[in-house]
């Protein structure tokens, strides 16, 4: 068997084993549903959710808030990151604040954000954007500053303007860092959305988990978690794929993207 096939088949076998073990354990040892739902229960919940369509609304709601918040947060972070990296005085004044805000767990702000932005999609988008902002911002700044000075000298020697240097040299050479930031942000953004939905919502996968918890419906809970995992995996894989395509010259691309 060649490497490629092995790397698909072996994990599949393990996955099947886990499912079998799970199935066996719940049916054989009579583990109560409220501790671990039977596999069949989770499958039924997923059917109910996605084939019969009960969860699509929640799925799309969470997707919407994550995508909009992610886009907004990452865009702001990129633009501000460029400003921060390019203008020394801006950096000097703001550096300690960035450090402090970066180290503060943003999810703790969820209740306040609700007060400030209302309970609609807006507050979820703000939460996601806030959570996405920092990894992206920091990585943009670090990436821009890590531009090899030799490349900058090269451009200066050929009379390039500051703007040309930023656009043609710094941003492309920061691309690896920027994509790593995008990668971290997508998972954090999902967390942000879920926490915001925990605090207030009538929809979304976070709401689903919350209401399943209250009803001791662990099957639904697992189904919701699985949907979340799918969202997370799809998002990261998309970013990873873009990374490989766009930053094709970076041999280490396949490695840096792995890093969260």
């Amino acid at each position: 068997m060649n490497e490629r096939i092995k790397s698909v088949v072996y994990p599949l076998i393990l996955f099947a084993l886990i499912l079998a073990l799970w199935s066996f354990a719940t049916s054989r040892f009579g583990i109560p549903t409220y501790i671990l739902p039977p596999l069949s229960g989770v499958v039924a919940a997923l059917r109910h959710g996605f084939v019969e369509g009960a969860y699509w609304g929640d799925f799309l709601y969470t997707l919407t808030s994550v995508v909009s918040g992610y886009a907004a947060g990452c865009t702001c972070a990129f633009v501000l990151g460029c400003l921060f990296a390019e203008f020394r005085p801006v950096e000097r004044v703001l550096h300690p604040f960035v450090l402090a805000l970066q180290s503060m767990p943003k999810v703790a702000l969820a209740p306040l954000i609700l007060v400030w932005f209302g309970f609609d999609l807006a507050s979820k988008v703000v939460m996601v954007a806030l959570v996405c902002f920092f990894p992206m911002f920091i990585n943009t700044v670090v990436g821009l500053k890590a531009t090899p000075p030799a490349l900058i000298d090269l451009m200066r020697a050929f009379s390039a303007s500051r703007w040309q240097i930023l656009l043609r040299i710094k941003i492309p050479s920061a691309a690896g860092h920027i994509f790593a930031g995008l990668q971290i942000s997508i998972v954090l953004g999902l967390i942000g959305a879920i926490v915001a939905e925990f605090v207030s919502s009538t929809k979304g996968l976070g709401f689903l988990i919350n209401s399943a918890t209250a009803q001791m419906d662990t099957s639904t809970m697992f189904a919701a978690l699985a949907s979340l995992a799918v969202l997370g995996i799809a998002g990261s894989q998309l970013v990873r794929w873009l990374h490989r395509r766009i930053v094709f010259w970076d041999r280490a691309a396949s490695q840096t993207t792995l890093s969260e």
Binding site: I35, A54, D58, G118, T202, S219, A223
Partner: protein, 331 residues
């Protein structure tokens, strides 16, 4: 155009305790009152209140305690009023496993009691009740749902102090639990009621009255046909419908709903039901209980400032028999 109202629960909308409010929409009762009602859920009263004050929502469904505290001298009085007494007696219960040696509350002295979280509204009331009974228990936050249940099952706590629908949910898991009798004055303490802003009451009392009446009708309907009520709820929130065996799911859900309907219908025996009415004496008891529980520093508080019975006659202004008939015929 119909008046737009946003109604907000203080937990998720997805608990069956909200079934009558939801059913009123499905049954078109709000429309009959020329109202367009939307639903929302928040984590806790305090998260909901700012939204009410900002007029992003018009009606909330909190417990009384946070609002009463705002009447304490020196605090900012919130410009809001309860206008409809919904859960008419305490929905908080003390339950033990069926095989527990504890028969009365007094038997729990010195044991461990599971509560949802120390921030839950019942905690001060529970403390006050202990004081009155002369017992002491260690309070352990166990969350809700499976986590709480596992805590009780595994003996990490000796009793649970959660609310009616939660306990009913445990019972649907096939577990025998026993509710312990509480002191009368604590049993009486109402739980959630509908609240709105003073401004709203001034500006549009008709809409508020209409909302109360619609919910009262829906409560009558659900009482007469809980199966239909549950199905309407599932229709509105399909994701909350338990997967698996439909008949069992329906039976379980009806059990849970009924546990709450009992509270909604806890009227003095032999008198006509006056939907939404508050008993001033119970408010006084409430203040005293919160004071005993250490939540209020003084009993010198006028609860009249935060509730009104003004709209009560309008709430009951419908033909209950007709609603029952509609319910029985509904499939």
């Amino acid at each position: 155009a119909p008046t737009k109202l946003v109604y907000a629960n203080v937990t998720d909308m997805s608990t069956l305790s909200q079934a009558p409010v939801v059913a009123a929409k499905t049954l078109g009762y709000y429309k009959q009152e020329n109202l367009d009602v939307e639903f929302m859920g928040f984590k806790g009263t305090a998260t909901m209140l700012p939204q009410l004050l900002a007029d992003r929502i018009q009606i909330g469904y909190p417990n009384a305690d946070t609002i009463l505290q705002s009447l304490e001298p020196g605090r900012e009085r919130l410009p809001v009023k309860f206008f409809y007494n919904s859960v008419r007696s305490s929905s908080w219960e003390f339950v033990v496993l069926d095989n527990s040696p504890a028969k009365t509350m007094k038997d729990l002295n010195g044991k461990r009691l599971g509560v949802g979280a120390l921030t839950f509204g019942n905690v001060p009331l529970t403390k006050a009740e202990f004081k009155k009974l002369g017992i002491d228990m260690q309070l352990v936050p166990v969350g809700t749902g499976s986590a709480a249940f596992v805590a009780l099952k595994t003996g990490q706590v000796d009793a649970l102090n959660l609310f009616d629908t939660q306990d009913a949910t445990f019972e649907t898991q096939g577990e025998k639990i026993r509710r312990l009798e509480q002191l009368d004055e604590y049993k009486q303490l109402f739980s959630n009621g509908f609240i709105t802003t003073d401004a709203m009451l001034r500006k549009n009392p008709e809409a508020i009255a209409g909302f109360g009446r619609a919910v009262a009708k829906a409560t009558v309907f659900c009482d007469a046909n809980p199966q239909a009520c549950v199905k309407m709820f599932w229709k509105a929130y399909p994701q909350t419908k338990p997967s698996g065996d439909e008949a069992k799911a329906l039976a379980d859900s009806v059990t849970v709903l009924k546990s709450r309907l009992v509270r909604l219908n806890d009227f003095p025996a032999g008198q006509p039901k006056r939907w939404g009415e508050y008993d001033p004496q119970v408010w006084k008891n409430f203040v005293k209980a919160l004071h005993d529980g250490g939540q209020l520093k003084t009993t010198d508080i006028k609860p009249e400032d935060i509730y009104t019975n003004a709209l009560v006659p309008k709430f009951s202004d419908f033909d209950a028999a007709k609603v029952v008939a509609q319910a029985k015929a509904y499939k």
